[in-house]
Amino acid sequence: MRAGSELYLPVREGVYWVRIRVPALPDKPRRQGIGALVAPENRETLPTDAVFIAGPCSFELFWDGRSIWRNGVVGADPASEIPGRLDNLVPIPADLLGPGGHVVAVRISNWNYNFSAPRAGFYIALENYAERLVYETRAPILPLAGASAAAVAAAVCVALHRLTDRRRSLLVCGALSLSVALFCFLIAWRWLHNDTYDWFAPRLIAITCTVTLICGLQAWLLLELFAIPRRGRWLAALAPLVLAAWFSSPYHAVIGLWIYRSMLVFSIVAAGWAMWRGRTGARWVLAGALIGLVSVQLGWDNRGFVSPAFLGAFGVQLLGLLVSLGVQVGEDRRQARAAVLTAARLEIELLKKNIQPHFLMNTLTTIMEVIEQEPKSAVALIEALAGEFRILARVSAEKLIPLGQELELCRAHIRIMSLRRGVACALETEGLGENTPVPPALFHTLIEGGLTHQRPRNGELKFTLAGEVASGASRYTLIAHGENPPQAGPPPKDGTGLRYVKARLEESFAGRWSLHAGPVAEGWRTVIEIGAPGGKVAT
C-alpha cells in the first residue's frame, strides 16, 4: 500500500492491522493558493515529519515497529474499545526519520462505526507537521464564513419581515438562511471540536437532515416567491427525488449530493416556469441554480460536504434567491408607492370633477338666473349643491364607501341636474345592499355622463340601477333611459369619466372586474361585474 491515499477498511470486524511500506521519505511540496497556478515553478518543498490520519476508528500507530501514537483504545469487542478522534496529526520522532525505507503499521478497531455501510474511509498521508497544522486550522474558515453570512441573511429577513414587509416569503427565506447557517456550522464543527469517531455518524445524519430541510424550505420559498399554483403537485414531484436520494447510498456525502441535485433541478424547473409566466426576479433564481448545478457537477470532489464547490454552489444559489426576493420587495414597494399616488390622483380627480368649470360655473349661472327669476327655487338648488359637496368631502379620501352613501351622492347630483336642465330626472334602484362597498363616485360618474350625453325621453331622464350578488361576485346594471345622441364615425375613446370609473375599479378590485357599456333600446346600459376575491372576471 502507498501512503497518502484513501483506503476503504472493513468495519466491525474485530482488531486488524494495516501495513504500509514507505520506500523513502519524500519532501512535501508546500501547499499554495491561487498564486501557485500563476507561478508553479516557484514551489517550495518542506521535509516530511508527520503522519496525518483521518478515519472513523480507534487505532495504534507503529513506525518501524515502535508505537508512536494511540487514538482511543483499540478493543477486541465494543465494550473494550474506547473511540478515538476522527482526525490525527502525528509527529514522527526525529530518530525514526532516517533515510531509506520505513514501515508504517496501524492496529485498528471500529466497533463504534454507526453507519450501515460495510466499509469506512481511512485517509493516511505523510505530511510536514507545521504546514498540516496550518491547513487544518484554516479549513473551517470557509464554512464558518458561510454560516456567518447565512445567519446575517436570516436576521435581515426576519428584521425586514418584522419592521417593513409582512410577506411570508421573507420568513421562509429567513428559515432557509438559518438552515444554511446550521449546515455550514455542522461542517465546520469537525475542525472546531474534533469529535470522537462514534459521533461521526450522528453529525453526518444531522447534516443530511439539514440538507433535506434546506431542500424543502427552498421549494416552499420558490412556490411562495413566485406564487406558483397547485403547490401540492410540485411538492409531490420533489418528494420522491429526495426520498430516492436518501436510499441512493450508505454514504451521507453522496445522499447529500443527490438531495442537492434534486433541489437544483426543482429550482431550475420552478424558476423557468416563473420566468415563462413573467414573475419578477425569476431570472436571478434560475441563474443561481444553473451556476450551482454546473459548480457541483464540475467541482465535486472526495471531500464531500466540505468541498468548496458544494459550499460555493450553496452560496450562489442562496444569493440568487435573496436577490430575487430583494427585487420583488423593491418592485412591490414601487407598486405600493404607485398605488398611493393613484389613490391620491383619484381623490384629486374626484374633487376636480365636481369643481370643474363646466359643472360648477353652469350651476352658478343657473343659480344666478334662478335668484333673479324664482328666488324660492334658488334655495333648493343651493341646498342640493351644498348636499352634494358635503357628501363628496366625506367620501373623497376613501377607497371604498357603502353603496348607500354612493346612492345618496347620486341622488344629490340628480336633484341639481333636474333643476338645471328643467327635466324630471330620477334614480330607481333594485336589489342593492346598502352596505356593499363600492369605490366613491362610481355610479355618480356614470350617471353624470348619462345626464350630460343622454337626451330626455318624454320630458324625463330616468336611471335604473339593479344589483345581483352571488357567491361573493356582484353584477350592477345601470340603464340611462333616454335618447342616445346620434353617433357618427368610429366609437369615441373613453372619456375622463369612464377612465376614472375604470381606474377606481382597478384600484379596489385589481384584475377581477369588467365593464361593458353600449346602447340598448331603453337608452344606454352599463354593466359592471366584480368577481369574488381570488376569482377573475374576463374583461
Binding site: P357, H358, L360, M361, N362, L364, T365, T366, I367, M368, E369, V370, L419, R420, R421, G422, G449, T452, H453, R455, P485, P486, G495
Partner: protein, 232 residues
C-alpha cells in the same frame, strides 16, 4: 340683428335670451335657440345670422369644430362658456369675445357692443382666419396676410405668396378681428401697415399706397393725411 344662441342648458339659454332682448331692444330682428350640436350645425348652414352666441360644451361634445365652422361664416361669434382655458384658442380662431360663465347682464352687453358698434374690435386679436374651402374649413395664419380687399358681402385675403383666399365675412367684420397692425386705407382695403413702403399722391386726388412687394393699393382721400403722418 339676427341672433342665434347655442346653449344646452335651458335655464342659461333662457338667461341669455332675456339679457339679449333687454340689451338689443328693437335692434333684435330674430332670435333662435339650439340646444344640441347637430341642430346648431343644421341651422347655421341654412339660416343667415349676424351674431352667434356659442357654448363650447354641448351635451358633453367639444364645440371647437362648431367654432371653427362658425368663425368661417359671415357672422360674428361670441363664446359664452365655463371653460375659460379655451378662451385663448377661441380668440386665436377669430371670435369677437369670450364671456365666461357665470355672467352678468353688463358683461354680456359689453360683448354685444363689440358686435353692434361700427368700430368695435375683438377683445383679443385672432391668430388665424378660418376660410371655407372645398366644403372644408381651413385656417389661414394672420401673419401671412399682406392685405384684404372687400368684395361686397365677402372679403379676399391676399397672402405673402400672392395667393388669394375668399372669406365669407365682410371687410368690416374681418378688420374687427385683426390685430392693431392692420390699417383700413380705403373703404375696400385693409393693409398690414408694416408692408407699406410709401404713399403716393397723383393728379386728380388719386392716392396710392405702395407695398414692399410692389403692389399699389388705392388710399381713401379722407384717410391719406392721417396715414401720411403715421408713415412719417
Amino acid at each position: 340683428m339676427r341672433l342665434f344662441i347655442v346653449e344646452d342648458e335651458p335655464m342659461i339659454a333662457r338667461r341669455l335670451e332675456r339679457f339679449c332682448r333687454e340689451i338689443l331692444g328693437e335692434r333684435l330682428e330674430t332670435l333662435h335657440l339650439a340646444t344640441a350640436y347637430d341642430e346648431a350645425s343644421a341651422r347655421l348652414a341654412e339660416t343667415p345670422i349676424d351674431l352667434l352666441l356659442l357654448d363650447l360644451n354641448l351635451n358633453g361634445r367639444d364645440g371647437m369644430e362648431l367654432l371653427k365652422a362658425s368663425v368661417a361664416g359671415s357672422f360674428h361669434t361670441i363664446i359664452v362658456s365655463a371653460n375659460v382655458e379655451q378662451a385663448l384658442k377661441a380668440f386665436e380662431y377669430g371670435v369677437l369675445d369670450f364671456v365666461p360663465k357665470p355672467f352678468s347682464q353688463e358683461r354680456l352687453a359689453q360683448a354685444l357692443l363689440r358686435a353692434t358698434a361700427t368700430t368695435g374690435r375683438a377683445a383679443a386679436a385672432a391668430k388665424y382666419l378660418a376660410v371655407k374651402k372645398h366644403g372644408r374649413v381651413e385656417l389661414v395664419a394672420i401673419d401671412r396676410i399682406v392685405h384684404l380687399e372687400g368684395a361686397g358681402a365677402y372679403a379676399e385675403l391676399v397672402l405673402d405668396d400672392g395667393k388669394r383666399e375668399l372669406h365669407d365675412k365682410t371687410l368690416e367684420k374681418l378688420h374687427a378681428l385683426l390685430p392693431p397692425g392692420f390699417e383700413r386705407i380705403h373703404k375696400s382695403y385693409v393693409v398690414r401697415w408694416s408692408a407699406v413702403k410709401a404713399l403716393h399722391a397723383s393728379e386728380g386726388s388719386h392716392y396710392e399706397a405702395e407695398l414692399r412687394n410692389g403692389t399699389r393699393l388705392p388710399v381713401g382721400r379722407t384717410r391719406y393725411k392721417e396715414l401720411r403722418e403715421k408713415l412719417s
